[in-house]
Each structure stands twice: as C-alpha cells, then as structure tokens.
C-alpha cells in the first residue's frame, strides 16, 4: 500500500510538471496587439500572426493590412476584404487607422489614400490589391468599400466572371 501511495504521489508531480512545462512553452499565434498608441503599422511576425476575421495565419506582407483602434488595439488581416468586413462591425469607423501593404512601393500606406485594383490574386480571394500609384482600372478606398458592402468582389461568381473575362 505504501508503494502505491508513493507511486501515485510521484505520478501527480510528473503530471503537474508536464502541464506546467507546456503552459510555459505555449506559443499561440498573435491576434491583437494592444497599446499601439503611435497608430503606426507594426512589423508583425509572419507565420505567427492570425487574421482577425478568417483566422488564417498571415504568410506574407503582400496583400496584408492592419487596423488600429483609438485605444491602440492593432488587428491584422491577410486580405483587404477581411479588413473591410471587420471594419463594418466596428463603431466609430472614422477613428480607426487603416494601413495596407502596397504592391508597387512595398511599404505600409494609409488605406484611405491607397488605390485598389480589383482583379488581384489575394489570399481569401476578394481580389483587391492596394497600390500607392494610381494604376489602370484602379479604384478609390470609398469605391472599394462600397463594392465590398455590395459583395461585388471576386468571390461573387457573377462579378468574377465579368471581371476576369478579358484577363487572359
């Protein structure tokens, strides 16, 4: 009986040690960074950061975007479409700083000043690609927002057919 008691005590210590070690080692992706009161884009870690809406890991800066709320909470997105969906759910939309990674100049730009092409290959497939310079057929932020709200993006089969008709 004494051996059983000692053995079960040892097992308890071993089990709690395994759990404690795992808790210390826990490494879940980042979904939100708090306290960014400079409202500047954060160089987040690729493969370790989650898109807030679709919950996929962000593998590349291309097509990614960030949104910073007034209290400094920074959210990340792997597709501009995801950011727009998130934005519509937020109160005080105008106070939220939006940043997009441009495909032409490869830097973070205020999303409201960027231009958007509509037929890009994006991670989720909405098709909006941000650029600093105005490109052929590119649209403004306001127009892009309206198209997202009306679901006029590449995930809509009718729009996809119309937009990609002359692509190849």
């Amino acid at each position: 009986m004494k051996v059983i008691k000692i053995f079960s005590q040892l097992l308890l210590v071993l089990i709690l040690s395994i759990i404690g070690y795992s808790i210390v080692q826990e490494d879940n992706p980042i979904e939100v960074v708090k306290g960014n009161l400079s409202y500047k884009p954060i160089p987040f870690i690729l493969e370790k950061t989650d898109d807030t809406i679709c919950k996929m890991l962000i593998h590349s800066y291309y097509g990614s975007s960030q949104a910073i709320t007034k209290n400094g909470d920074t959210y990340f997105f792997n597709d501009i479409g995801c950011m727009m969906i998130w934005l519509e759910e937020q109160p005080y939309k105008e106070s939220i700083r939006l940043w997009v990674y441009t495909k032409d100049t490869e830097r973070w730009l205020n999303a409201r000043l960027a231009h958007y092409t509509t037929r890009d290959k994006t991670v989720v497939g909405y098709g909006f690609g941000a650029s600093e310079r105005e490109l052929k057929d590119s649209i403004s932020f306001k127009e892009m927002r309206v198209r997202m709200l009306k679901e006029e993006h590449l995930l809509n089969p009718k729009v996809r057919k119309r937009l990609l008709k002359n692509r190849y």
Binding site: M1, I4, K5, F7, S8, Q9, L11, L12, L14, I15, I18, I19, S22, I23, V24, Q25, E26, D27, N28, P29, E47, K48, D50, K55, M56, L57, K121, V123, G125
Partner: protein, 331 residues
C-alpha cells in the same frame, strides 16, 4: 411556438420530462413537509407517517433517476434526428450550439444525473444506518435537485422552441475544426504530451483510488475530465472517423460509427460520476465504498481500451498512424 416542437422525438422527450417533473413536484411538496416536521426521537403517528412518506420520496427519486438516465442519451439521439431536418447541421453539435441554451442544458442534465447518483448513494447508506443520520442532508439535496430539474425543464422547452428550421446552422467542422496555427489543446499541450497525460492520469486515478488518496484522486478526476475530452476530440476521435481532420464529439454517436459514442462517452462520464460519488462518500459520510471504486476503475478501463483499440486496429490495418492534412488553398 416553433413547429419543431411537433416533431415526434421532441414531443416524446418533452412529454417524458414533464411527467418526471410533475412526479418530482409531488415529492418536493412531501419533502418540504417532512423536513419541517421530522423528529426521529418522536414516537407519534405523525412521525410514522413521515417515515412512510420518506419511502414514497425514495421510490419517486429512483424512478426519476431511471428516467433521467434514459432521457440523457435520448436527448442526444433527438438532436441527432433534428440535424437531419435543420439545414447546415450534420450532427448534434450544430443543433446544440444553435442557441445559448444548448450547452447549458447539456451540462445541467449531467449535473442533475450526478446529484441524483449522490442522492441515491446517501439514501442507500442512510437506510442502512437505521437511525437515518443523513436524512436531512438528503432532504436538502433533493430540494436542490428539484430546483435544477425545474430550470432544466424550462431550458428544454426554450432550447427546442428557439431553433429556427429555416436558419442555417453550423456543422461540427466549423465548431471544432482546427484553425491554422492555433493549438486547440488545453495548457499549451501538443498531441504527444496530451496522450502521455491521458495514460498517466488513468494510472494515477487507479492507484490513488486503491491507495485511498482522495486528494490526489480529486485532482486526477478534474484533470482527466479535461484531458480525456480533448484526447477523444483531437486524437482518438479521428481514428473512430478514420479521417485525420474530423474533430467532433457528437458524430460518433451516429449510426455510421455504430453508436460507439454512447459507449465511449457513457463509460467516461459514468467513471467520472462514480469517482465524484466515491469522494463525496468518503469525505461527507466517512464511508469507503469498494464496489463504487471497482465499478469506476472498470468504466475508465473500458474507456481507455475502446480508445486505444481504435488506434491499434487502424495501425494494424494500414501500417501508419493518421496525420492531419494541411489544406492548401488553390487560387
């Protein structure tokens, strides 16, 4: 009123719940009366009558326990049946998560069953003791059980009434599916450590049960509740479905998997309940119940054997273990 309430399975289920509640209502009134007047030292006709009433309450509670024991699996079976007519849901998982009542209802049902089991255990030893030393304790416990059953009955109705058959529900892949890069396991565990803990906890529970170490047994049962659930959901379940990316605690209750979920979860929950009852018997009543302990260990052993056999058989048949498939999006 939702048209879903006219479904045969739901109508039978709700009717049975109403009948049990009504019978328990009688027992409730009798128990309050007994608790007010009970005096074991007295030799008056009233006291003799109260003792007879106490037997009536006991019979009613044994009936209620039997009914609740049957109604819990029937509740899950009913949800499975509804998943055939509600768009989107493939099993009970979608139905139970349709509204906020679902999971609350499921847990209150388990809690009631546990309390009824504890009540029956106390009642058994109370009758054996001749002087009814735990009579008031079991009386008060019954009042708590009745309140819980009343809440449960309201939630039963609210849950089914709130389900809109025209609204699309979530399927289990959405509810329990793995998110990219996110570890769904508790305490930051990986699958290897989860499995090590799964077997170590089983050994610890068995040893502490027979070593009469109730503190260690309590910790073991709490941890095993969490580790056992996640092990089935994210490891053993995939072998039952033979699909590496299918994580659902409910699909295994369906005919496609030979209803193995009832046996698997039944032995797991049964073992946990008996474990809790054993601890309460020891700490509150000061009784060491050998039969309960043996039954608990047998149920946990059955649970472990079923889980392990699925993995072993799969490995013998295929020569490999299941590995989750990473889904790549094709653009």
């Amino acid at each position: 009123m939702s048209s879903l309430l006219l479904n045969t399975n739901i109508a039978i289920f709700l009717l049975a719940e109403w009948i049990v509640w009504f019978v328990l209502l009688i027992a409730f009134g009798v128990t309050v009366y007994i608790l007010k007047k009970w005096d074991f030292q007295s030799y008056t006709p009233v006291q003799y009558r109260l003792e007879k009433y106490a037997y009536l309450v006991m019979v009613i509670l044994i009936f209620a326990f039997s009914m609740k024991f049957i109604l819990l699996p029937y509740f899950i079976f009913t949800m499975d049946k509804i998943s055939d007519i509600v768009p989107g849901a493939m099993c009970s998982a979608g139905v139970i998560s349709f509204n906020h009542y679902g999971m609350k209802l499921f847990f209150i049902k388990l809690l009631i069953l546990l309390f009824l089991m504890v009540w029956l255990m106390i009642n058994h030893y109370d009758l054996d003791a001749k002087k009814y030393p735990w009579f008031k304790l079991k009386g008060w416990l019954y009042l708590v059980i009745f309140l819980l059953i009343s809440v449960e009955l309201y939630w039963d109705y609210a849950f089914f009434n709130d389900i809109d058959i025209h609204k699309v529900l979530n399927c289990c892949s959405t509810l329990y599916g793995l998110l990219e890069g996110v570890n769904p396991l508790p305490f930051g565990l990986d699958k290897t450590r989860l499995l090590i803990l799964f077997y170590l906890l089983y050994i610890m529970i068995v040893l502490s049960t027979f070593g009469k170490q109730y503190f260690i047994l309590s910790i073991g049962l709490i941890l095993f509740t969490i580790i056992g659930y996640y092990s089935v959901l994210y490891f053993f379940g995939t072998y039952i479905y033979q699909m590496p990316n299918h994580n659902c605690p409910f699909c295994m209750l369906q005919k496609d998997y030979y209803y193995i979920g009832y046996l698997l979860w039944g032995s797991f929950i049964g073992g946990l309940f008996l474990g809790v009852t054993t601890i309460i018997a020891n700490l509150v009543l000061g009784i060491d119940i050998q039969k309960l302990k043996i039954l608990m260990v047998l149920l946990f052993t059955q649970f472990i054997v079923i889980c392990s056999l699925y993995v072993a058989i799969y490995y013998i048949q295929n020569g490999v273990f299941l590995e989750p498939v990473k889904v790549e999006m094709v653009m």
